[in-house]
């Protein structure tokens, strides 16, 4: 596999390959280029996930014709689908390598630091929303209890914007979370629950359930569950499975009758 990436770089199939390498025992994202092919010996798979495709969008925004290879998990590929649909990358310029394919030959070193996901403690299970719950479990609480449990989670928020910043499919230049008429500024926690619900609404048709937001949340808020619920509604109502298909245009959300083609002036006659 390393030989394949090397050949891609040499032949110009890709200009840069985004994977991981080990630095002092830590897996860190690394961009391999043809100027330094020997570095490829250090290409590894990482148990700690970074949004490699977000790095790809940053590169593509600077150099739109750049050909980018990415060491990808299932979540990275779903994110790339969404980013392609929303014109943040050109899918033709992206080549992926399957990281979870055992045959890929990219090893995960044993002696490396890993990332431990949240294990909800008993108090959180008692008063909050367990990160491991399904949307159905979370909805089983009666309305007032559900509200108080979610509010417990939201009130922990320290407004780091990490959920947005880490998100591979958050790319808006102007963000509603910073809209002063929508969400006040100044105190902590931020306006709850509006801050989190505004973000949840904006995750409709975007969230690919990678869970990076939850891993980045200093307060362990059950964000993944919240956004999963939003996308469940989207699936139920519009039969839209976010990120599943690179060809699915975002506007199919509104049904097949809606197009961006200008309507003929005599359409109503």
């Amino acid at each position: 596999m390393k030989a394949r990436v090397r050949r891609w770089l040499e032949e110009g199939t890709v200009d840069v390959f985004i994977g991981y390498r080990q630095v002092d025992g830590h897996p860190l994202p690394y961009c391999f280029t043809r100027e330094n092919l020997d570095a490829l010996d250090g290409l590894i798979n990482s148990p700690a996930r970074y949004a490699l495709e977000k790095i790809a969008t940053h590169l593509a925004s600077r150099q739109p014709d750049l050909k980018i290879g990415i060491l990808s998990l299932d979540t990275n590929r779903r994110a790339l689908n969404v980013l392609g649909i929303w014109n943040q990358i050109n899918p033709e310029n992206i080549t992926t390598v399957d990281a979870d394919d055992a045959a890929s030959g990219v090893a995960t070193p044993d002696d490396m630091r890993t990332f431990e996901p949240v294990v909800p403690g008993p108090y959180k299970q008692q008063v909050g929303i367990d990160n491991a719950m399904s949307p159905a479990d979370a909805e089983a609480f009666d309305q007032s209890e559900r509200f108080s449990r979610w509010m417990y989670e939201f009130e922990k928020c320290i407004k780091c914007y990490g959920c947005r910043n880490i998100c591979p499919v958050c790319f808006c230049r102007e963000c509603s979370l910073e809209h002063r008429d929508l969400i006040g500024t100044g105190p902590l926690p931020p306006d709850v629950p509006i801050f989190h619900l505004v973000r949840a609404v904006h995750m409709a048709g975007r969230c690919i359930d990678c869970g990076l937001c939850e891993e980045a949340c200093p307060a362990d808020i059950s964000l993944r569950l919240l956004y999963r619920k939003v996308n469940q509604i989207l699936d139920n109502v519009f039969e839209y499975q976010t990120g599943s298909d690179p060809g699915q245009p975002p506007f199919s959300l509104l049904g097949n009758q809606v197009t961006l083609e200008p309507k003929p002036l005599d359409a109503d006659k």
Binding site: D24, H26, P122, Y123, G128, K159, G186, L188, P218
Partner: protein
């Protein structure tokens, strides 16, 4: 910190006093959340109702400056109920009898009267802290920035030792340091009385050791702390000041006093990455590069020494601080030639026992926690494990003293100062960061709804706040997070400088730390003062105000 950040998660009880942790040390607050969710008890004592108060088993808002009374009250009840760690006290500590005698006077009723905290709450705090070990005590500037700062810290230590919480994983007395490398600056001897590793300048052995290593005779009398430098400038004894990466014009107490002192200097040299308020007053400004443009190490609040790495080249004609220092030293006739920061680190480590086992290679990305005395030592996650650094842990019997200034008829409000979540210290770094500035673009003063009602103040009204030192303006933010009779001002905003109001004379007698957390002030609506000529409002001089406006 005696203990490590990660250990907080495994505490049985966390007692936070004088730290607004979610705003000022958010990634330590994360460990508090985690501990709480794992089942730990949480006690919060802060004059303001902070975010963590919402999650506490007991949250109290004690009166400003009443920390010693509150802590003594807890100890009184712990001893009265026999919850103290008798074996630990016997084996590992001394002077317990005096402590017991002193805290005996601090009955719950007396403490309730001083602190404004109910007897019930004091009882809960004492019981929860004493019966859920290990208990980690976390504090920040809310404990230290008082005339009784040292007393406050010693009282925290008394409480922790009383329940056997020092020298155990998940316990400890944990000051949360406010600046990324304030621990390192202290460790490196950035203090008037010590070399690196807290080796005393007036100890003959260490003086000789450093004199020999550096090839120069060294002064053996401790120098002036910053709070004594200002009077020395005014008296004409201190003629030249070299300020590196600091902005005392906003961070030091009593700004009017300080401006006057800086004017008296013959020479002010400032080295910074921005033209800060202080740099604007300099004779020469040395342009340093940022932390992303150089190599080196920082030591965090849990004593973890970690490497920073050069990400980009220095901007324009700027230099890393270490290169500037080398050039200046060489120009003063003492050649300093280092190939890189690693060479400096190795020289320092050889002279500093607590860092002696560290090398850049060993630090890696995780860093090492001092003491790390030799090359095989794994570092020290928590201190005082088997015995205290000084042998036996010493109890200090401490009585409660009032702050230097209390509200009176003329200045009826308590004022306290601090930080808000999106800004940092004097704002030089955060106010020019668009994503941070958008969260809070101006200063403000927090006032309780009852006071606002009584003073007929509406949210956003511009208030003039005056102390015995000076006066300044800030818009009102009406919030129940402060107690009635108490105001809160964030310190980040140069155009609403809190240090116009605070006192340079109210210092802790030992630590010389100013009492930023307690002043007496009066307020009036700014509109009443309309038509007053600017000079009389005590605002900073117009040239400086312009410059400050330009730096936003």
């Amino acid at each position: 910190m005696t203990n490590s950040i990660a250990e907080i998660e495994d505490a049985g009880c966390i007692f936070i006093i004088g730290s607004n942790t979610t705003a000022c040390h958010p990634l330590i607050a994360r460990r508090v959340y985690r501990a709480k969710e794992k089942g730990a008890k949480l006690i919060v004592a802060d004059p303001r109702r902070i975010q963590l108060s919402r999650f506490a088993d007991v949250a109290v808002q004690h009166r400003l400056g009443s920390d010693v009374a509150l802590l003594n009250g807890m100890m009184h009840l712990i001893i009265a109920n026999g919850w103290q760690a008798a074996d630990y006290i016997q084996e590992r500590t001394e002077d317990y009898a005096e402590l017991e005698k002193t805290v005996r006077e601090y009955t719950p009723e007396k403490v309730a009267a001083i602190t404004g905290v109910s007897v019930d709450d004091i009882q809960h705090m004492a019981e929860i802290y004493a019966t859920n070990s290990p208990a980690a005590l976390l504090y920040a500037m809310g404990i230290t920035q008082h005339t009784t700062g040292v007393d406050n810290v010693k009282s925290c230590c008394n409480l922790a030792m009383l329940c056997g919480n020092v020298g155990v994983a998940g316990g400890g007395v944990n000051p949360l340091r406010g600046q990324n490398n304030v621990q390192g600056a202290c460790d490196m001897g950035g203090l008037p009385n010590v070399y690196s590793g807290y080796q005393l300048v007036n100890d003959i052995k260490s003086n000789e050791k450093f004199a020999k290593a550096w090839g120069r005779p060294l002064p053996d009398k401790p120098g002036l702390p910053v709070t004594a430098m200002i009077p020395a400038m005014l008296e004409g004894k201190l003629k030249a000041l070299y300020v590196i990466g600091e902005n005392p014009k906003l961070s030091d107490p009593d700004r009017n006093h300080l401006n006057h002192a800086l004017e008296k200097l013959d020479f002010l040299l400032v080295q910074d990455i921005f033209l800060s308020e202080t740099a604007q007053a300099a004779d020469v400004v040395l342009a340093a590069c940022s932390m992303a443009e150089k190599e080196g190490t920082f030591t965090n609040t849990e004593r973890r020494c970690m490497r920073i790495r050069k990400a980009i080249d220095p901007l324009a004609d700027t230099l890393p601080d270490w290169q500037i220092l080398c050039r200046l030293s060489s120009a003063l006739g003492y050649e300093m030639n280092y190939a890189d920061p690693e060479a400096i680190f190795n020289e320092m480590a050889a002279l500093t026992p607590s860092y002696a086992g560290m090398t850049y290679a060993r630090l890696g990305l995780d860093g090492l926690q001092w003491p790390c005395p030799n090359a095989d030592h794994p570092g020290t996650p928590y201190l005082h494990r088997h015995q205290f650094a000084r042998g036996k842990g010493k109890f200090h019997a401490i009585g409660f003293l009032e702050p230097a200034e209390l509200p009176d008829d003329e200045f009826p409000y308590f004022l306290t100062t601090g930080r808000m979540f999106a800004h940092f210290h004097t704002g030089t770094m955060t106010r020019i960061s668009p994503n941070l500035n958008v969260e809070q673009t101006t200063g403000y003063v927090e006032i309780h709804p009852d006071d606002a009602l009584a003073e007929e103040i509406r949210d956003g009204d511009m208030l003039t706040i005056a102390s015995r030192r000076g006066e300044m303006e800030a818009p009102a933010r009406i919030t129940p997070t402060v107690r009635p009779g108490t105001l809160f001002l964030p310190m980040h905003f140069g155009e609403n400088p809190t240090n116009i109001l605070t006192s340079a004379e109210a210092l802790d007698p030992i630590a010389k730390i100013p009492e930023f957390k307690v002043s007496a002030v009066k307020i009036r609506k700014f509109s009443e003062q309309m038509g007053k000529i600017p000079e009389e409002t005590g605002a900073a001089d117009p040239v400086e105000a312009d410059a400050a406006a330009g730096s936003r």
